[in-house]
Amino acid sequence: MDTTTTATTADTRPSDADILAHQKAVAAPFLSAPLVGSTGTFDGLALQLKDKAVALRHVRKDGNCFYRAFSFALLEALLNYAGSNWAKKSDLTNQGYDPIITDDFYEPIEAALKDDFTEDKLRGIFEGDGEYQSDTIVCYLRLVTAAELKKNRDLYEAFILDSYPTIDEFIAQQVEPMAIESDQIHIVAIANAIGVTVNVANLDSSDSDLNFHDITPMMPLDLENSQHQPVVSLLYRPGHYDIVYLK
């Protein structure tokens, strides 16, 4: 190895003391707050949302909430992008899913991408008798997520090997079955697979402001009007996702 590069790398890398100091600095604001505060009002919580969002759409809490919220928000955004070629079936087939099965699950999406897809039809999928169709879409998106994890396993494996022996075992337990909740890795995978940005608003623990995680795809969806890429905005509270409409 070239000795000069080694030297430069060594110089730019922070020392252990630097890392400790940084860690202390990051933790300082949290450590100065009281261990247990005085009782307060709820105003702060509600205001965080009101400042940034115009509406909230609740999604059923059945373990499929991420995929359900994601599909509704995406199809709603895609009302203006008829004919978009997203979540190609061939990706699923290439990862070993039987086309006889995946074709069935793709049908409601295929219909939603046609020119005559309207807001009424969108509601039809998610209200009343639409449950079966909506579940079909959830299932399809689970397979899209699984196929992306399989296809780029080198990219994702490091995040799950602590808990699962292989990515395939992770997929069989945490992605393919219905009603199993989604985590960061699922969201990153589906954002990459479909090519849309997922904007997750967190109401988790910080009381200063609503914080956002923008999960952007490596390859954005190829659309004619690429300046207006659809964005899926979700509100995350521990254990659940709802759809949020941001200002």
């Binding site: 899913y97 039987d98 006889i100 099965i101 069935d104 699950f105 449950e131 079966y132 579940d135 299932c139 689970r142 397979l143 069989a172 337990q173 393919e176 079955p177 219905m178």
Partner: protein, 134 residues
């Protein structure tokens, strides 16, 4: 719902007359296992939201196996927490057939059968005594 059954040796399934949500399946004991030569009937009940919820499957023919209880209930992960809509009648029956030859003896429903699995001769005798034509 996928109603087709490809022609695979050793397993078959058909809807009961007049009820598409209730099937009768047949599994032949795999060659070379203690079940070789025996045929088993199973009932498959499909929920209305199948395939998003697993079918309920039970051995109707009395079955002596570490992961099957005396009422015919089966303990198999893909019928429970690992169930996914990508499975169908065919894949489930093939999984059950391979469970016959490779039981999961670590979490048995029939402890006696799990203990006896290491003695194939005695085990086959129990299989023979348990089996009944239905």
């Amino acid at each position: 719902m996928q109603l087709m059954m490809a022609n695979i040796p050793g397993v078959s399934a058909f809807p009961e007359e007049g009820n598409l949500l209730s099937w009768i399946a047949t599994i032949h004991g795999p060659v070379g296992t203690v079940y070789d030569g025996f045929t088993y009937k199973l009932s498959m009940k499909f929920p209305l939201n199948y395939p998003f919820t697993a079918p309920t499957i039970r051995f109707e023919t009395p079955m002596y196996h570490p992961n099957v209880d005396t009422a015919g209930n089966i303990c198999l992960d893909i019928l429970k927490e690992k169930w996914s809509a990508i499975y169908n009648v065919q894949t489930v029956l093939l999984s059950l057939q391979s469970l016959l030859g490779e039981p999961n003896n670590d979490s048995p429903l029939n402890g006696q059968a799990a203990d006896m699995w290491s003695k194939p001769k005695e085990f086959r005798e129990m299989v023979r005594q348990t089996w009944k034509e239905i």
